[in-house]
């Protein structure tokens, strides 16, 4: 096997806590007399070791503050390791974020040249690819405006457009997909697919498990400054999701009153019980059962729910108003049973359920309970998309090969 393009061996990184540092001469002078050398050390990474092979697409996942961005900065050569070593064999793009060094007072054109210089392009080299960059960003008409007059979406487009021109063996990417609209994200994805084909090595820090599943060959899960797991992208994505949602044990219905979600509303009605199956396998129907009580007299309340992926993105939802389904008028103290059934089209992984009751127009919220329940879908077919409905596929030979 060829030598790895990045080798990280027993890497640790410590930071001195900033508020304890002596950042003024006066402070330093006073400290000389007090002789109090209590510098607090915060560990950001502890004994990290891994290799990245040439052409590999490696995902680095972990919660906020787990140290994954620090790791990326060390790989980029921005931070120096406290202990251990990093060996990089190849050209490395020094960018870890889009639009670094952009100046709002300069025009779009000037910023392209500036950004290009940071990527290592000389003036004539930028000039040669300038038209392409502008065309890719679809900003032909506004290049002579100052950047501060651009929308944030336009700024991201131009930044990304420059960054795609970088020619290197290794690309380090930090949360690129967190910015931009859907159309732009699609462009990012297309670019990544192209890079993957072209044998570029990519280290990709993200929270987006569907991106990990879709692009990464392998992933590393960092938790509390250490590598908790490394392996196949699918496996790591599942483990990461599990960090947020301690898996419900057994098949007993999840209890209604796990109150970690936020809950608000006027309180004219409120849910008292939520019953959702904890685990759902491949096929079958998802049944959501709720019980609610009226605290006041209410006319034709609207019942609704929303299902979100583990990262909080809405997958689907509906309510009785959208379904044009009439509901009862309720007297104070009356209770209702609300039961929803739907086919299990969801993708593999943990899902969150929000439930709500509103007035008859669906405007005033009586009770909105975020993450009132969770359920885990286990499916053989793992796709990176929000839903994975039952699909069937027939591939048949359509005739003899033409010669």
């Amino acid at each position: 096997m060829a030598e790895p393009i990045i080798r990280v061996t027993n890497l640790s990184k410590d930071f001195l806590l900033p508020h304890l540092r002596q950042t003024t001469l006066k402070g330093r002078a006073l400290n000389l007399f007090r002789r109090s050398h209590t510098v607090e050390v915060q560990q950001a990474l502890r004994d990290i070791s891994f290799d990245v092979e040439r052409g590999e697409f490696l995902g680095v996942v972990g919660r906020n503050g787990s140290g994954k961005s620090t790791l990326l900065k060390i790989l980029a050569g921005i931070y120096m390791p406290t202990r251990g070593s990093v060996t990089v064999t190849g050209k490395l793009v020094p960018f870890i974020e889009l639009g670094v060094g952009f100046n709002p007072e300069l025009t779009g054109r000037e910023n392209v040249y500036l950004n290009g210089a940071l990527l290592g392009f000389s003036k004539s080299e930028v000039a040669a690819i300038y038209e392409d960059i502008v065309a890719f960003a679809e900003l032909e008409d506004s290049m002579d405006q100052k950047l501060k007059n651009y929308s944030s979406g336009m700024q991201v487009r131009i930044a990304f457009s420059v960054a795609t021109r970088a020619q290197a063996d290794i690309l380090l990417i930090d949360e690129v997909l967190a910015v931009g609209d859907a159309a732009f994200q699609r462009k990012c994805f297309e670019h990544f697919r192209a890079l993957k084909k072209s044998d570029t090595t990519i280290v990709f820090v993200t929270h987006d498990m569907s991106a990990v599943r879709q692009f990464c060959d392998r992933a590393i899960l960092i938790e509390d400054c250490e590598i908790l797991a490394q392996g196949g992208a699918e496996d790591i994505a599942t483990q990461y999701t599990a960090l947020f949602n301690p898996t419900p044990s057994g098949s007993e219905p999840a209890s209604a009153l796990q109150s970690h979600g936020k809950r608000w509303g006027e309180g004219a009605m409120r849910y008292t019980e939520v019953a959702v199956p904890a685990v759902l396998d491949d096929t079958g129907t998802l049944t959501l059962e709720f019980e609610a009580v009226a605290e006041q007299d209410v006319d034709e309340p609207v019942y609704g729910f929303l299902i979100k992926s583990s990262s909080g993105d809405p997958v689907m939802g509906t309510n009785s108003l959208l379904k044009r389904q009439p509901t009862h008028n309720l007297r104070k103290g009356e209770r209702v049973q609300v039961t929803w059934s739907l086919p299990n089209v969801f993708s593999d992984g943990v899902h969150l359920v929000d439930v709500a009751i509103a007035d008859r127009h669906g405007l005033a919220i009586y009770d909105w309970w975020e993450e009132a329940a969770t359920f885990t879908v286990v499916k053989e077919e793992k796709t990176p998309y929000p839903v994975t409905p039952d699909t069937s596929l027939v591939v048949a030979r359509a005739g003899a090969a033409e010669r």
Binding site: T24, L25, P94, V100, E110, L119
Partner: protein, 308 residues
């Protein structure tokens, strides 16, 4: 600093070719120590410093575009500022206090002093802030950190060059004779640039750590303005003190530069001590300053990203 294989305390950080960009091979990383003719060496140096050069250029251009943006007179301010200061000082000290009566061509003499001193002040003051002001870049991109300070040095140098045009204009206006001595001027400017830029490097790295340095430096500059014979001829003060003052490299540079460009009737270090070799002291101080800042800046540059 990036570029060379990095060796740092307690850790190994090797990077064979971290240079991004196009159009070159990794020649410098695979060193062939056997045959190394000059051409090859030059090519390697060109590749080695390709990225810093591109960056430096981009930063200086940006700096110039931004500096006088939305200002009415734009680049003219580079010239107007020293001229305004000159006018004030000239009226107060030459007309009212009659300080320069003994010096021929006193207006040019004064303006030249102000321009040379102004270069030092601008380079060190702007240099001091440079790293902290570019903290966003330092935290997000790996690039040779010295480029940041160098870009400030370069833009101050460009302003200085423009100011020199004004000096020449005044010299023509006042019929100042040009002597062969003027050939020393490039060497004196070299000393000036070396001293100013190395101070800038030192201060910028120190300011990352000690954020009250800017106030201290400001006061130092005020005091130094009077400790250096810019306004007054050195003959005004007792020779004992004059001999001490002239050991300051800035005082030596200002006086020598005036001697070679404006008028030989000014007190230089050679005249005060009776021998030109005393120059070894201020030049030595400058060299020590250069060495100190290179060592200190290189050592500190590893942690700029965390502290700036």
């Amino acid at each position: 600093m990036s570029g060379s294989p990095l060796v740092c305390h307690r850790s190994r950080f090797t990077r064979a070719t971290p240079r991004p960009g196009l159009g070159y091979t990794d020649a410098w990383s695979t060193v062939q120590p056997q045959k190394r003719d000059v051409k090859e060496l030059l090519a390697r140096i060109r590749i080695r410093y390709r990225y810093p050069r591109i960056l430096l250029r981009a930063m200086v251009i940006t700096d110039f575009k931004l500096r006088y943006q939305a200002s009415l007179l734009g680049y003219l301010w580079t010239l107007l500022r020293p001229l305004a200061i000159f006018t004030i000082l000239y009226i107060v000290f030459a007309k009212f206090l009659k300080l320069g009566a003994s010096v021929p061509y006193y207006p040019v003499y004064l303006l030249f002093g102000i321009v040379v001193w102004g270069f030092f002040v601008e380079a060190t003051t702007q240099g001091l802030y440079s790293l902290v002001a570019r903290a966003d870049l330092l935290r997000k991109i790996s690039f040779p950190r010295y480029v940041v300070v160098l870009s400030i040095g370069a833009s101050v140098l460009i302003s200085f060059a423009l100011n020199m045009v004004v000096i020449v204009f005044f010299m023509v206006l006042m019929n100042v004779p040009v002597r062969w001595d003027v050939l020393w001027l490039p060497l004196l400017f070299l000393e000036l640039v070396a001293l100013s830029i190395s101070m800038a490097f030192f201060l910028s790295a120190l300011y990352v750590r000690f954020r009250d340095l800017n106030y201290i430096w400001e006061v130092c500059m005020q005091a130094a303005f009077y400790a250096i014979p810019i306004l007054y001829p050195l003959t005004l003060i007792p020779i004992r003190y004059a001999r001490l003052l002239i050991l300051n490299p800035m005082a030596q540079i200002v006086q020598d530069a005036r001697y070679v460009l404006v008028t030989p009737q000014t007190e230089t270090i050679s005249q005060l001590y009776g021998t030109p070799w005393v120059r070894a002291i201020p030049i030595g101080i400058t060299l020590i300053m250069v060495a100190t800042s290179v060592v200190y800046f290189r050592r500190q540059s590893r942690s700029f990203a965390e502290e700036a």
